[in-house]
Symmetry: C2
Subunit: 472 residues, 2 copies
C-alpha cells in the first residue's frame, strides 16, 4: 500500500541520464568511493575507533564533564601564557591544515603546512581549538555536492577557538574571546579567518569540543523544527540517524516542547546509548514505515530526512495532514547503499519528483534545508545569529547539551571520516587541533585489509597505517 502511495504521489525521471553522465565525468573517481567495503569493515573499524577515541559511547556523560573540567583548568592555569602563545603563534608564517587534494576516497586527504591566513577587513582570525566533522564533509570529499569548489581545498565548515586578530576597521570581538564560527571551507586548520557575521561568542560554560559540536547540528535542527516546520506541543517527529549529531540535536530540542513524540531510526548497537533521548527507536535496516504506523496509524507531523532517494516517498506517505517533510541531506549518495557508478547515478537523478496537486489534496508540506547554502549563498547570517542566541540561552538553562562522540587529531581525519561513514558515531565527531594522533596498534593494519576485496581507495588508506609521514 505504501509503495502504491508513493508511486501515486511521486514521479521518477529517467530521461536526462545523458545530462547526468556529462556532469558526472569530472567526478569519476568519487563514484568509486561509495563501495561495499563499508559494510564489511564496520565492525573492525568500530572496534578500532573506540580505543583511539577518548571515550566509549556509554561513557559519554562522564566524559563530557571531564573534558569541560580539563578545558577550564587549562584556561585558568594558563590564562596569561595563552595570550603569549597566541601572539607568538600569530607571527608564524605557516600552519597545519587538512588538505583534500582532489575529489575521491580517503586517500585524497592529508595534513600539510599552509601559509598562515591573515584577516581581511570585516574578518576575524581564530586560533582553532576544535572543528566539527559532518556527513556533509564526506559528500564534499566525494564531490557529491552542487557546484563543488576546486581542489585542493581545506575542508570543514565549523570550528571553535580563540580570537587572535581582527581585520582592519573590524570591531565586535576582543583578542582572546572564546568563539564558535562558521567557515565556508577551511575550518580544518590551526588558524581560520572568517567574516564577522559568522562568528559568535561562546557561553562561558561551553567547552571548545562542545561548541564545535553545537554550531551546525543544533542550528540546523532548530531551524528545521521551529522555523520550517513550526513544532508545537503534542506533535510527533521522525528523524533518521537518531544517534548522529543532527539526530541528537533534534531529540534534545524536541524535549524542550511538552509532549513531543520522537521516532528515530539508528543502527541497533546504538539503541542502548540513545534510548532515553528518543521515544521510539527502530533499527535502520527494518521497514520504519510499518513500525511507525503500528504505533501511530495516522503518521507523524514532521519527518526529517537526510537519506533522500526512495525515503522521500516513504516520508511523505508517513505525514499526517499539515505535516512537513524536510530533506536536509542525501547521505544515501555516499554510503555503501550506493554501490556503483550506475546506482549512484540513479539515486541522484531518480530522486522522486513531487506533484503539487497531490500536496494540495493531501495537505502536505515538503521542504529542503541546507544551512550552508543559507549562510554562504543566501546571506541569512542575521537570521542564523538570532537562532544561535536562542540556542545558547537553552544551553545556559541546561536544556540542551551537545553530545560529543569522540575527539580526533587532524592526522586522524581518515579514521574519523570512516567512523562517520560507517555510522559508528553517537553524537558528533570532533577534530581536536591540539590532540596528538593515537598510535595505531599493529593488528589494525592487517584487520582492515582483506585480499580480493580492496578498492582503489583502500590502497590509499595504507597511509593510515603509517600515519607519521602525514605532516610533510
Amino acid at each position: 500500500m505504501d509503495y502504491e502511495y508513493s508511486q501515486m504521489f511521486l514521479e521518477s525521471r529517467t530521461k536526462p541520464f545523458h545530462k547526468f553522465l556529462s556532469l558526472f565525468q569530472k567526478r569519476t573517481d568519487s563514484a568509486h568511493t561509495a563501495h561495499s567495503e563499508f559494510g564489511r569493515r564496520k565492525d573492525q573499524l568500530q572496534s578500532r575507533a573506540s580505543p583511539s577515541s577518548p571515550m566509549k559511547p556509554t561513557d559519554m556523560a562522564k566524559e563530557g564533564t571531564e573534558t569541560t573540567e580539563e578545558t577550564e583548568h587549562m584556561i585558568e592555569k594558563n590564562g596569561a601564557k595563552e595570550t603569549e602563545t597566541v601572539l607568538s603563534a600569530g607571527d608564524a608564517k605557516e600552519m597545519r591544515a587538512v588538505i583534500l587534494s582532489g575529489f575521491g576516497g580517503l586517500n585524497k586527504l592529508r595534513v600539510t603546512k599552509k601559509a598562515m591566513p591573515e584577516p581581511q577587513e570585516g574578518e576575524v582570525k581564530i586560533r582553532v581549538k576544535a572543528c566539527g566533522l559532518n556527513f556533509l564533509d564526506l559528500m564534499v570529499r566525494q564531490g557529491n555536492i552542487d557546484s563543488p569548489p576546486k581542489t585542493p581545498l581545506v575542508p570543514g565548515f565549523e570550528c571553535s577557538g580563540i580570537v587572535e586578530a581582527m581585520g582592519e576597521n573590524t570591531k565586535g570581538f576582543e583578542i582572546g574571546d572564546r568563539v564558535v564560527a562558521f567557515v565556508n571551507y577551511n575550518a580544518w586548520a590551526e588558524v581560520v579567518c572568517t567574516p564577522l557575521d559568522y562568528v559568535y561568542n561562546m557561553p562561558d560554560d561551553m567547552t571548545f569540543p562542545e561548541a564545535a559540536a553545537f554550531s551546525m547540528n543544533f542550528v540546523a535542527a532548530y531551524m528545521m523544527l521551529f522555523e520550517v516546520a513550526n513544532l508545537r506541543e503534542g506533535m510527533s517527529v521522525l528523524v533518521h540517524s537518531a544517534g548522529g549529531g543532527v539526530g541528537q540535536a533534534v531529540a534534545q530540542l524536541c524535549s524542550t516542547i511538552p509532549s513531543v513524540t520522537v521516532f528515530g531510526t539508528a543502527s541497533s548497537f546504538k539503541h542502548e546509548a540513545i534510548k532515553d533521548s528518543v521515544t521510539h527507536l527502530f533499527d535502520r535496516n527494518i521497514d520504519y514505515v510499518q513500525e511507525v504506523k503500528k504505533i501511530s496509524p495516522e503518521g507523524v507531523d514532521i519527518v526529517l530526512d537526510c537519506l533522500s532517494g526512495e525515503n522521500t516517498g516513504k516520508g511523505l506517505g508517513l505525514l499526517r495532514p499539515l505535516g512537513t517533510y524536510i530533506l536536509y541531506g542525501s547521505s544515501n549518495m555516499v554510503t555503501g547503499e550506493t554501490k556503483s557508478f550506475f546506482s549512484l547515478a540513479k539515486s541522484w537523478w531518480q530522486v522522486e519528483k513531487v506533484n503539487p496537486i497531490k500536496l494540495y489534496e493531501e495537505n502536505k508540506v515538503i521542504a529542503g534545508f541546507s544551512l550552508l547554502n543559507l549562510l554562504f549563498k543566501q546571506g541569512r547570517c542575521g537570521q542564523v545569529k538570532t537562532v544561535v542566541e536562542k540556542l545558547f540561552s537553552l544551553y545556559n538553562q541546561k536544556k540542551i547539551k551537545p553530545v560529543v562522540d569522540s575527539l580526533w587529531a587532524l592526522e586522524e581525519v581518515k579514521e574519523a571520516m570512516q567512523r562517520i561513514h560507517d555510522r559508528g558515531n553517537i553524537g558528533k565527531l570532533i577534530l581536536d587541533v591540539e590532540k596528538s594522533p593515537t598510535p595505531l596498534m599493529a593488528s589494525d593494519s592487517t584487520e582492515t585489509s582483506e585480499a580480493g576485496e580492496e578498492e582503489e581507495e583502500h590502497e590509499g588508506d595504507n597511509d593510515n597505517k603509517e600515519r607519521m609521514p602525514f605532516i610533510q
Copy 2:
C-alpha cells in the same frame, strides 16, 4: 532568467496523457464550460451584476453596516416570532435547495424542492440564512475535483443560520443559537444537517452574511499564513486574486502582524476598491514576477497560489530562502484561460513537478492546502475549531471583518457563479436564502447573447433570463 529557473526547478510530465483521457471521458461536458465567453462577457455581466446585487463595491463599508442593522433589527423585533416560524417550518416536509443535476455548465444548476433533512445522532439541524459561494463551487460544478461525488447533488460547503434541532443524544447547542457551519456539500438549501464538530456559535455582532463570508476564507487564510507558513513580523506575502474572498482575508490577517508587506494581483478595475488592503497591487494580466522583483529583488517569504499550472514555477522562483509556496486551488483549470479540452488536459497533467533536491539547495518550502479535505477527509475538526475561535476573537477585537461582495437569492445562483467566474467580485459572494430574486431587465437577455459566439453552456443559460420556472 525566470523561465530558465523554473525549467531547472521543475519537471513537466507529458507521458500519461492516455491516463488523463480515460479519466476525462466522464467529464466531457465540463470541458466545454471553460470558454472564451468569459472575457467578452465580463463588462456586460459586471454591469448586470451590480444592480441586482444589493451594493456596489464602492459602497461596501456602508452596505455592511446597513446589513448588520437590518439583521439585528429583525432579530430584536421578531425574537419570539422567529422561534414560532422556526417551529412551523420545522414541520414542513420539503425545503428549497439548489441542485446540480450533472457536472458541466451553469445550465446544470436549478432550484428545486427536496425532502427536509433530519439530524442524525451527533448532528445539528440548521435553518440556513446565508451560504458562501466559492471558486471551488465552480470546480465542483465542472467536476474538476479529485474524486467528484455522484450527481445530482446540492452544492455548498458553508452556511450560517439558526439551530432548529439536534440529533438524538446530541448536546452542545441550544435551539435558536446563531451558528456558522461547514457542510460536506448540501449547504445551498433552506435547511442543513451537519455534525456537531463542524458547527460554531457566531459572535453576537456578526451578521449571517458576514459569518457565511467568514468561515472558509478566513480559516483557510489563517491556517495557510500561521500554521503552514509561520508568518512573522517583517515578512512579505504574495497573494493572487487579492480582491477575492481569500485574498481579502489574507490581506486583513497580514495587517494583524507588524510590518508585513502584501503584494497582490487583481483585475485593474478592483484596484481602487482594494488598494488600502494591499501594499503593492499589480494587474493580474501583467508579469507579476518582474513587478515584485523590481520592488523586492530578493523575492517574498510567502506565495499563496490559487492558480497552479505555470504559476507554481513562478511562485517558487519568487521565494526568498526559507520561503513557503502554498498551492490552495487550481482556478486556472476553470477559467477562460483554459480554452479547450486539450489545454485543460495540459494544465491538469502538466502541473510542474518539484524536485526535492532543488528545494534543498534553494532552502524552499512547497505546500498544498485544502480546507475541505482537512475537514471532511482528514478529520482535523479540532484543529479547525481552535482556529475559528482565534478568528472570532480577532473579529471581536475589530481586527478583521469579512468583506461581502454581494447577496444573491438561491434562484440567482447562476449569475452569482458567473460573477465569480469572471472575477467580478470584491470579497465574498453570498447566497441569501431569504432574498427574493431581483427581476432581470429586458436588456439583459439580449446583451449577454451574441450570435456566433455562443457555447453549449450559454444555451442553458437562457434559463437565467426567464428565471421564474426555477422553482419546480
